[in-house]
């Protein structure tokens, strides 16, 4: 995002403003007050005696509140400091702003304080794609409050603005004519409340803003207190860990149906929504630190699991949703997100998360409660995802207008290609989907035997998994390159580019032991490994571009799963090299890993070049340091115990992770850095 942009949020309500606290949005400018995927305020400008403010400092108190210190006047040379202005803003159901004006002079001052307000009620999709509105706008003054509204047939959204001090309210804002005595101050509380007419979906009750801030402060304190503690010799890791915990707290999102519990949304601010894939993968990354996100994710995604065939939404029975949205375009079915199901990995990953959750928590009650959903997900793999009848998971959208073409995590248009850069047709069977399906079957078998008491089903799943593994190692193995093809094309031909997906295959366990060494060699080799991390696509491939979204950049989340995969096959030093690279990179971003950074050689740029992106923090980047801590310490639940088998980069020195929660209660893990990652990194 551009400089000087300040974001605060609560769940899916958030405010993006400039460093003065002002909002001046256009259809394409992403500032404003947003809630339920709709912009509820697009103009919010403070002026005093006709002058705009000049920012002195911004104080980010918490992720849900901030304070702007300002002086009137926009002069760049000289600031007239006879007045100071403080705007303290907190998000609730809309936002609450305490506006204070301090007079530093020996004489009283007469001021005209003006807040200009307006709203375009844009759908987030419109803000991203710059589309025109179809409904009607209105503004009215009602009981001293300004009400801005937008109506389209039965669809209505409104914003109500009021102040605690007497104001002259017109259709374009509020004006205060005030006198501030010498060395005195004046202040008012401004309330901006969002309304969703007719939808009946407003959260029940409305807390007072102060109470809501207290609740959120307590909640954040509890979240931080509950998390395991990191002690280590390397200060940046402690800072990165702390940053991750706070950002993960901010990214928690309570879907309407979760009864106040939360799951990780995908990213700030555009993806404060329920995403199947992102919520599942982030919950997996965070499991050793908190299991609450996983439990809520499993329940909420289970409630929304597909039950029938709906081409517009790409829904099938048993399919786990891709994305849920609440805005106008979704409401009028101009977009399919109510919810949209076009994801081929969320469904097998759902079973993977359920099993991993049980292994950490021992919570069999939840596994029992979700038996129907897990079985439906496993059934989807064979009955609805095998579009070619060849025993693999394929994807091809049925919604050709607004559905997603690529339904794997690399979802941009050119992410799946042959070595020579050609794009395959549809349907496509990308390799990591087969790995996830294999893992889901084996984990489903474990749960069937242990919790559902259905050994026959378990046997069947294990047999299918073994068969899948055998065929996969034959059909996807690129003989002359010694790695797995990125995908199969509709004719069953190998889409033969070398990509980071090979790391996910190690994580899933589908790779034959005899092939694993060659795969690991590629992952740490010069074509894929940049020195910071594994590139999404290998250097030398037709579409390779170090700043191409899924064709050459390094994705921290991708690397965290690759590191986990390397550990699974016993390559713990290689996992440590990747962990060291990504954690080194995190230091350059003040502990907040971006979604992706450039695939340039580390020795070439010396610092990681951030890929320009609208989302920061992003959930699975935030979860990355957590999963890397797990892989470096080699944490693995084994029955009722937690096994620790550390392989740490020597730069980290001594590392302690204290009070790891799980079925064992709380446990501590220790490790000492012995892996010389610099030497291993050298070509």
């Amino acid at each position: 995002m551009s400089d000087g942009v300040v974001k605060i949020l609560d769940g899916n309500t958030f405010v993006v403003s400039d460093s003065r606290g002002d909002i001046e949005a256009s259809l394409t400018d992403p500032t404003g007050l947003f809630s339920f995927d709709t912009r509820f305020l697009s103009k919010w400008i403070l002026s005093i005696n006709g002058e705009r403010m000049n920012p002195l400092s911004v104080d980010d108190l918490q992720y849900f509140e901030t304070r702007f210190f300002l002086v009137p006047g926009t002069g760049t040379v000289y600031v007239d400091a006879k007045l100071s202005v403080i705007r303290r803003r907190a998000v609730s159901n809309g936002f609450h702003e305490e506006l204070t004006i301090l007079n530093h002079e020996d004489k009283a001052v007469d001021l005209t304080v003006r807040l200009d307000a307006a709203c375009d009620f844009a759908d987030l999709f419109e803000v991203k794609d710059a589309l025109e509105k179809k409904g009607k706008y209105s503004a009215r003054v009602e009981g001293g409050k300004l009400v801005l509204a937008y109506d389209r047939a039965t669809f209505g959204r409104s914003t109500t603005i009021s102040a605690s001090k007497s104001a002259r309210v017109d259709k374009k804002g509020l004006t205060f004519r005030i006198r501030v005595r010498p060395h005195d101050k004046w202040s008012t509380d401004l309330e901006v409340v969002t309304g969703r007419l007719g939808a009946g979906l407003a959260r029940p009750g409305r807390e007072n803003p102060k109470g809501s801030q207290r609740r959120m402060r307590r909640n954040l304190e509890r979240w931080m207190d509950d998390a395991p503690r990191v002690e280590c010799d390397w200060e940046p890791l402690k800072a990165t860990y702390r940053r991750s915990l706070v950002d993960l707290a901010a990214l928690r999102f309570s879907p309407l149906i979760a009864g106040g519990r939360s799951l990780p949304a995908a990213g700030l601010p555009w993806f404060m929504a329920m995403f199947g894939r992102d919520s599942i993968l982030t919950s997996l990354q965070a499991l050793p630190f908190t299991s609450e996100l996983a439990a809520t994710t499993l329940l909420a995604l289970g409630d929304w699991q597909g039950v029938g065939l709906d081409d517009f939404r790409d829904e099938d029975p048993g399919r786990i949703l891709h994305e849920m949205r609440y805005g106008e375009m979704t409401a009028f079915e101009e977009r399919p997100h109510s919810p949209y199901y076009g994801s081929a990995d969320a469904t097998p990953l759902y079973v993977v998360l359920l099993d991993e959750y049980e292994r950490w928590t021992g919570d069999r009650a939840l596994v029992r409660a979700l038996e129907v959903e897990a079985r439906a997900a496993l059934n989807w793999i064979d009955e609805y995802a095998d579009l070619r009848g060849t025993g693999y998971v394929w994807y091809e959208r049925r919604n050709r207008k607004t559905g997603l073409e690529n339904q794997c995590w690399k979802d941009s248009w050119d992410s799946i290609s042959f070595r020579d850069g050609r794009l395959p047709g549809f349907p496509r069977a990308t390799c990591e989907l087969q790995g996830y399906a294999y893992d889901a079957k084996l984990r489903g078998a474990r749960l069937a035997r242990l919790v559902w008491k259905d050994p026959a089903f378990a046997d069947r799943l294990e047999k299918e998994a073994a068969d899948l593994k055998r065929r996969f190692n034959r059909d996807f193995w690129v003989e002359d390159g010694e790695y797995f093809a990125l995908a199969l094309d509709p004719d069953g031909k190998q889409v033969d580019a070398l990509a980071s997906n090979n790391g996910h295959l190690l994580w899933s366990g589908i790779v034959d032991k005899s092939k694993s060494k060659a795969v690991a060699r590629h992952l740490l080799g010069p074509r894929l490994f940049s020195g910071w991390g594994v590139r999404t696509l290998a250097e030398g491939e037709g579409r390779y571009n170090p700043i191409g979204y899924h064709v050459g950049t390094v994705w921290p989340f991708d690397n965290s799963f690759i590191a986990w995969g390397l550990r699974r096959y016993g390559f713990k030093e290689d996992a440590a090299v990747i962990a060291a690279g990504i954690l080194d990179a995190a230091e350059f971003f003040d502990g907040r890993l971006p979604e992706a950074f450039g695939g340039y050689e580390r020795t070439e740029t010396m610092y990681p070049v951030q890929y320009p992106t609208a989302c920061s923090p992003q959930a699975w980047s935030t979860g990355t340091p957590l999963l890397l801590l797990r892989t470096m310490l080699g944490l693995e639940p084994h029955g009722e115990n937690l096994v620790v088998d550390a392989a740490l980069p020597s730069a980290i020195g001594h590392l302690e992770l204290l009070d790891i929660p799980g079925r064992w209660g709380r446990i501590d893990a220790f490790g000492r850095g012995r892996v010389d990652t610099k030497a291993r990194r050298a070509p």
């Binding site: 409630d303 081409d311 409401a331 129907v372």
Partner: protein, 134 residues
Amino acid sequence: MLQERARAVTPDSVEAFFEELASRGHEPLLRKATGSARFDVGDGKRTERWSVTIDKGDIRVSRKNASADCVVRADKASFERAVVGDLNLMAAVLRGEVVVQGDPRLLVVIQRLFPRPSGRRPRRKSSGSARKPK
């Protein structure tokens, strides 16, 4: 299993939908749900009501005007389309065509019992071969 294809609306579509619901007795898709929902379906002149109580998946349907954890209001034309799979309940709620008061989770689980609109089953094509090219 659920109907997977939108059907034409008939004068007794709504009645038939609730009768079919009642005849299920137990619905595994709802076994995590307990609560009551009332559907108020109006045609401008009069409102017909159906009360659905769910007890861990056991479904009972009555025509009583009982208080409920979740009240769903819709006009008859919209609701008729919903029960034949021609109107997506969630999108209709988002645009205010169907209004929900009370616990929204109940609506989420109950919408699973409504038929889906088009239902083209992804065809398994057997023309291609997954064999490696020689």
